[in-house]
Amino acid sequence: MASPCPKSPEQSEKNKQYDRQLRLWGDHGQAALENGHICLINATALGTEILKSIVLPGVGAVTIVDDNIVSDEDIGSNFFLESSSKNLNRGSESLRLILELNPAVQGYAVQEATDQILQENPDFFKNFSVVIASSLGEKTIQSLSHHLWEINVPLIFCRSVGFLGSFRIQIKEHPIIESHPDNEQYDLRLDVPFHTLFDYLNSFDIDELDLKDHGHIPWIVILYKAVQKWQISNSNSWPMSRKEKNEIKEIIQQFKRVDDNGMPIYEENFEEALRAVNTSLTPTFLPVKIQELIYNSSAINLTKESSPFWIMCSALRAFVEAEGKGKLPVRGVLPDMTASTDHYVTLQNIYRNQAALDAELVYRKVQEIVAQLHCDNITETEVKLFCRHAHDLHLIKGSCITSEYQFSNTVSSYIARYLEEPDVMMVHYILLRAAEMFRSEHCRAPGEWEPESDIAKLKTCVSKLLTDISCSPFPKDDHIHEMCRYGGAEIHSVSAFLGGCVAHEAIKIVTKQYKPVNNTFIYDGASTNTATFTF
């Protein structure tokens, strides 16, 4: 028998290569990644581990800035250097070996010091999607973060010392439309059914159906009918309390058919309805988080420079205030439920059509704004995506890293609060900072030569930091001692863990999907502990 040869599309080579990740961020996420250009400052083991997990999924381009010469220690901890790399430029060597991972990625190496670039050619940084830096001195990180904050380029600053590590994301403003929440809330509108939904729900008479159909009614209908029945004796209010919800459950029990012995017949859809009572009777409301967004001054005072996100927020506000009657556009997603194909598809289309109508209204408002402001067009696809995720929009407002070095009042009291608890992860943060201060004062890492003799010197650095934030000294020297034991060593597996995390966060920033860490992450590999702080 000859092979049947369907005309169906075969996947492209690229789709096959990236298949496993396209299932996480979609073709549009991939396109955004392929337009991204990442700058890495210093090709340390941590730096190259980060680049590895950004180059493999296919970022557009990478640039490494590094004026260091490869040492034996570098080769010992960095997989993207080889024996023959010794005494050559570290950035160029690691770039060569990293680009082997994915021929689709463009790569550039710049053999200059960061300070020099900041002084002579600060515009150099302006076109990067994200700048990632490791092993920078106190002074350089301050001038770099200040500059990148000014020109609005995201920065991730990372450290890896012994079993400790950290990264800090500096980003002025980062809106996320597709935040991919683990548990997406349903948007069913049972309390305020739009008219097509209203007509559909009221077209059922549960008691009239034959047993087969009875087992095929979607639980949404069952729940709605139970509430209707309940409302007759409850002056049309909405069931909110646990007691009221239990009453709804009783009504659903009464809906069940019984067998010849008077025992209720098991029907999956009725069981689903009973389970849904606790989760799906929440009244439709405008989430506070979204209300804050659409009434944010950036969404109210639009200019020609306003980003598409704020324009869409503004249009969304207009919709909520007018046609939406205080509610967001219908999401248009129906969870799977026991039902006949016909019932399910009909109900699904009712929600989908309403979602399309609502999104259309928002799109028209977007077009009006765009016309008024004479700014770039926003596509209907973008607006649809925005409306589909309107319930889960998320905005990160960042802070500049320099505020940590100047110990602004907010930063000081924030740190002090954690140190008083005491939170050992905040202690690690202080030690990473103290080690950095030690390096700028003594031109080497604490304990680089010999651990014991540096303990007192590092303690002085810790005291300075603690005085600056008006905190009492640490009762014990154990963490100071441990930092001196590390002697500035970079442990490969610690860098590899952080490398995976930082690459991941950079991809989130470039694809504008999933929520990145806001804004500081601390890792202790010795105790397998992590923490997130927001400076």
């Binding site: 028998m1 599309p9 996947q11 493999l56």
Partner: protein, 451 residues
């Protein structure tokens, strides 16, 4: 600078390992109580410590690199798979020109070349092809598999290697620690298992999410989702229409097959008004594809490598004992102590007891072994010893014996010679061992009353 001068005199090899030597040759306030800093520890890691990496995929590639750069040289890696294009977005030791070659061999070749002195050895075979003698040679086993069945088998193998003293206490020198990692999309976990001492894979089977399945009646009669349409074509239409003739089985890796299913599923979806059947979804359902990305694999493998380093060097205490990682919303980890089950099938060294009704049929036992949370077996073969002779009661995995013993399933267990206190011997793909289980007849009176 004096120190720089000393540095320059150090042999190149010593300078290369300068970073990890600091944590191995210096003592610290948080070290494991048994830790004695010395240069001999690095010698042990490099010259004696034998590590087995199970799996040369997303986690395995990372593990091999991590371990080689943490000083380990005697690393073995086992994987039966060959390289595919869809591996290349994360399995960074492979290139397009390697497609079709052995993962284990390619990975080893690459790392041995990149890290001078590394003596990794590849085994291109299934883990089940290697025997007790093979597994016994390792100090630590680290596992990065995507299959739960294979993990359970390996776990069972390490239990086989345990030796017990005359007083039934565990001989600790027979314990080979297992470090296990797993990822799915932006989530993962890493754990440390001391076989016979801490919670093992079987103790915590309930931590694995149940496999998503669709009831046959839904896919046949009331399809609602695009997945239902694809399942229908796979389960019902393919065997019925036999499109390639000769009862050719459906191969999710054959693009022609996938395209055929895709087209038929689309037809079925259109007929029922269902939308969104795509080629990608079809492939995902057919092959049960788990999304995977380089970054999550890197983080989980690194966590495992750090734990291997701690086990081998005692430089810090190990995690206790299970870490979950979620990178979907920020980066979040949580470490907890998974509990050892006192009556675990695999690690408890006690007699297993299965409670059955006296009038049960063999099918009841068979179903219990498959569905009971304590066993969750795939296709258990059941034998027993009657009057000193082995008797096969049911053996599903071998076709001829299955046919011969099938009728036993309907028979009462008492008719088959089993009695209260009788022992059955069970074999399954989830374990390399035959498991002895004692039957306990539940009280008939109780049974009557509960009905």
């Amino acid at each position: 600078m004096a120190a720089a001068a000393v540095d320059a005199q150090m042999p190149e090899q010593q300078r290369r390992w300068h970073n990890i030597r600091k944590v191995l040759e210096r003592s610290g306030p948080f070290c494991h109580p048994d830790f004695e800093p010395s240069s001999e520890i690095l010698d042990f890691l490099m010259d004696s410590c034998k590590i087995l990496v199970v799996g040369a995929g997303g986690l395995g590639c990372e593990l091999l690199k991590d371990l080689a750069l943490m000083g380990f040289k005697k690393i073995h890696i086992v994987d039966m798979d060959t390289i595919e294009l869809s591996n290349l977005n994360r399995q960074f030791l492979f290139r397009k020109s390697d497609i079709g070659l052995s993962k284990a061999k390619c990975a080893v070749e690459f790392v041995n070349k990149r890290v001078p002195g590394c003596e990794a050895v590849a085994h291109h075979c299934a883990i089940q092809d290697l025997d007790e003698g093979f597994y016994r040679q390792f100090h630590i086993i680290v596992c990065g598999l995507d299959s739960i069945v294979a993990r359970r088998w390996l776990n069972g193998m390490l239990m086989t290697l345990l030796q017990y003293n005359d007083d039934r206490s565990l001989d600790q020198s027979s314990v080979i620690p297992l470090v296990d990692g797993g990822t799915e999309g932006f989530k993962g976990n890493a754990r440390v298992i001391l076989p016979g001492m801490s919670a093992c894979i079987e103790c915590t089977l309930d931590l694995y999410p149940p496999q998503k399945t669709f009831p046959l009646c839904t896919i046949a009669n009331t399809p609602r989702l695009p997945e239902h349409c694809i399942e229908y074509v796979k389960v019902i239409q393919w065997p019925k229409e036999n499109p390639w003739g000769n009862a050719t089985p459906l191969d999710g890796d054959d693009p022609q097959h996938v395209a055929w299913v895709f087209e038929k599923a689309q037809e079925r979806a259109t007929k029922h008004g269902i939308t969104s059947v795509t080629y990608r979804l079809t492939q995902g359902v057919l092959k049960n594809i788990i999304p995977a990305v380089a970054s999550t694999n890197a983080a989980i493998a690194a966590t495992c490598a750090t734990e291997v380093f701690k086990l081998a060097s005692s430089c810090c205490t190990n995690m206790n004992n299970y870490m979950v990682l979620n990178m979907a919303d920020g980066v979040y980890t949580y470490t907890f102590s998974a509990e050892k089950k006192p009556d675990c099938v695999a690690c408890s060294n006690t007699t297993r007891i299965l409670e059955v009704e006296a009038d049960a049929v063999l099918m009841d036992i068979y179903e219990k072994l498959k569905e009971d949370q304590a066993y969750l077996m795939k296709n258990p073969g059941i034998t027993t010893v009657i009057n000193g002779r082995n008797k096969t009661l049911y053996m599903p995995s071998i076709k001829s014996i299955e046919e011969r013993t099938r009728d036993n399933l309907k028979k009462k267990i008492t008719e088959l010679g089993l009695y209260n206190g009788a022992e059955i011997l069970v074999a399954d793909v989830t374990t390399p061992n035959t498991i002895a289980i004692k039957l306990k007849f539940s009280d008939n009176v109780d049974v009557e009353m509960s009905r």
